[in-house]
Every structure is written in C-alpha cells, then in structure tokens.
C-alpha cells in the first residue's frame, strides 16, 4: 500500500521539480530562452560582449540605433526609477492635488491595479497616443536617433512615433497649444551630453503605466549622455509643481546599447482592432466575464 502511494507521488514530484520553471528561490519562472532574439528583419541580435572595450564617444553625436534590451524598458509598474511597487521610496512626491488626480486613474498594473475591464488607461481605453514623457516611460525599446545640424529626431519603436528636438537655439514657445508630444529643445552641455527640455504636453496623457498624473505646467528634462561609442544613458526628470512638491527622477541613467547600422527595428503598433480582439478573447475572460 505504502509503496503504491509513494511511487506515483515521487514520480510526480520528480516531474514537477524537473520543470525548468523552478528557480533557486523556489518560485516558478519561465525558462531562459535558448533561441537568439531576432530584429525586425528576422536576423539574430548579437548582444554586446560584457567585457568589450568601447571606443570613446564621438563629440556632440548621439545618433544611431539604440537597443534597450528586450525587457528593461517596458516599465510595466510605471517609471523605472519610481515603480509603483508599494515601496514608499518609489512613490513620487505628490501634492494634495496630485494625489486627488492619481485616484482618478485606474491602471491594470502595479499596486493600484484593477481588473482589465475597469482599467481607464487612455492608451488602452481610447487608443490615445502615449504622448510624452510616457513614450520614455513605458515600452521604451529599440530607438533610432537621427541627427541634423538644426535638430535631433527620435524614432520610437512603440507605436512607431517620432519626436523632433530642436537644437538650433530657439526658445521654447510661450503658452503653447498642447500637443501629445509637446515642444522640445535641446542643448549640448558638454561634448557628450545633450539636455532636452519639453513643455506643452497634453494633460490627458498619463506620465507612465502606473497612472501618475501631470498638469499643463509639466516640464520634463531628458539628459542623453553618451558614455562611450557603444552606450547611451538617458535620465528623465519630472517637474510639475501642481502635481509634485519637487522634481523627481523617473528614469535614472537608463542604458542603451548601440546596434549595427543594419539593425531593423521591429514594428510595434497596438491597433484598436487588435486591442478589441484581445479584450474580447482575453480581457473579459481574465476579468471573470463571459469569454471566448
């Protein structure tokens, strides 16, 4: 009897513990991939060797195809330097109004997450553009930067949008009409650092996936620092006195790796029809409603 009980139990336990979803911390996880990642053209992506010695950065040049890795730029819990993970030190310094506005947003990720059907993220509810600075703070992936004498153009993978950063010395507009991606000017503060200031962003957008709010007074600083030929760091600082008592860092020296010029950036567009399909098949099912 005992033998009959033990044997199948041992077999099942062996099967379970042989699954590659077990980690050292005994929490299941997906196994590491065995296949190489592919670029948009279906060509293997070769990561930069960790010990590779890079050439010095070129002066006043951040152009190139920059890859943020396959997961590090997703920021599903909100801004990477301030994720909504329940830790007090990661919460932005809200003003009373900021807290009131925060309560109106209902994200489906983070500590305030709601079921898919209750989510009011404007990107997923209405198909609104992410806008800026959320384009830096959610789904930041392969990014192409083109540089001309009068401006820098950033081509984002997610939603296939672009931004123009004027570097021709112009001033930011006074009392501008709001735009999804605002108005940006950039200035080289040293040979390898371009500081970009953006204002005039649309109040309807969320700062990040966690539903952090902003007002029309939002002022965003991006600091692009090319540490050497192969690496670019991006730091994003949020300054919005109506919503936050002091400026706070949303992205802190986020690292991009330079890719070969032949790297093809994969299209990544979340179309309303695809999102509707997802909600029909998956969202309602996950929310406990009638499903597939």
């Amino acid at each position: 009897m005992l033998k009959h009980l033990i044997f199948p139990g041992v077999v099942m336990a062996a099967l379970i513990f042989s699954l590659p979803v077990r980690s050292q911390t005994d929490k299941p996880r997906s196994p590491d991939p065995t296949e190489p990642g592919l670029d948009g053209w279906g060509r293997p992506i070769t990561p930069l060797p960790k010990d590779r010695k890079s050439a010095p950065a070129p002066r006043h040049d951040i152009s190139g195809i920059w890859d943020a890795g396959d997961t590090s730029g997703i920021q599903p819990l909100g801004a990477k330097a301030a994720p909504d993970d329940g830790k007090a030190e990661h919460q932005p310094p809200y003003t009373p109004l900021g807290l009131e506005m925060l309560k109106l947003t209902k994200p489906s990720n983070g500590t305030r997450s709601v079921l898919p059907g209750e989510n009011n993220d404007p990107v997923f509810t209405y198909g609104d553009p992410q806008g800026f600075p959320r384009e830096d703070l959610y789904e930041l992936r392969s990014t192409q930067i083109l540089q001309r004498p009068e401006n820098v153009v950033i081509l984002y993978q997610f939603a296939k949008v672009w931004r123009v950063i004027w570097t021709d010395g112009r001033e930011l507009p006074k009392d501008p009409e709001p735009r999804w991606y605002g108005y940006s000017v950039g200035k080289w503060v040293d040979d390898y650092t371009l500081v970009v200031t953006t204002i005039g962003t649309d109040e309807r957008t969320w700062l990040d996936r966690a539903g952090r709010p902003h007002s029309a007074d939002l002022r965003v600083e991006e600091r692009f620092h090319r540490t050497d030929r192969d690496h670019l760091e991006l730091t994003v600082t949020i300054d919005d006195p109506k919503m936050y008592t002091k400026p706070w860092v949303a992205l802190d020296k986020f690292v991009f790796d330079l890719q070969p010029s032949s790297f093809d950036v994969r299209e990544m567009i979340w179309s309303p029809s695809e999102y509707e399909q997802y909600n029909k098949l998956m969202g309602n099912s996950a929310g406990g409603k009638d499903s597939h």
Binding site: G9, V21, G37, P76, R266, M268, A286, G287
Partner: protein, 140 residues
Amino acid sequence: MRYKLAAISFAVAGLLAVSLPLFAHHGYAAYDTDKQVTLKGTVTRFVWSNPHCMVQLDVTDESGHVAHWIAETENPSAMIRVGWTDKSLKPGDQITLTALPVKSGAPVGRIIEIVLSNGQKLPGRINPSNEVKPDDSPKL
C-alpha cells in the same frame, strides 16, 4: 484504488507546485499567483498580435469532456526576443502548456512555458523578480 492513489499523487504534486509567479503587464490582478496548471491539449488558434499573443487550446479530460482554454503571453516584439515567431504554433499542434490560472476559475491562463510535441520549448515571460502583489497597498 488506483484513482485514489492518482488523486493523492496529484494533490501532493499540487501542494509542491504552489508558488508565486507573475510578471505584470495586463490584467495582472486577474491571476492567481499562488497556483500553476499544466495542460495537455490541441491548439485551436494562435493569435500573434498586440497587445499580447494568445493560444487557444482544447483539453480533453478522462471522461471525454473538452475544456476550451485560452492563455496569453506578451506581445510579439517581446516574444521574438525569446525564440517565438508568428509560425511557432498552428491549429492542430499537440502541446503541453504550463500557465498561471485566473482567480475566477475560468479556463484562462498566463503562459509560463509551452512544450511542443517535438520537444521544443517556448518560454513565456514569467519572472519572479518583476513580481508585485496587486493587493499590496501603495504607500502614499
């Protein structure tokens, strides 16, 4: 008797399998992060699209009842970095799928891993280091 032994074995296995996974992206709150299920079934549909790829499969139990499951993973841009392509699955494929189930009890899951009939493994994107418990209160 054999059924009892099998039941005990699966109960033991289930207890051993209790765990806390999950990588939040969509509908995080919907998943039961304390459980995982292993399904053997036939793919009826593979949706390679944004915001998340989805697999529908029919799972037949011993009594012949067919359960229609659906499981999601992440978007194509994420999955193509871990070995998936738009041709990874097709209707009729026999697969073994490990997933996190939803709390509601519906036949819905989030993919931990898929093993094809030829042994090829397709990893999901479940990573405990990205875990956050949705019922944690934000400290404001």
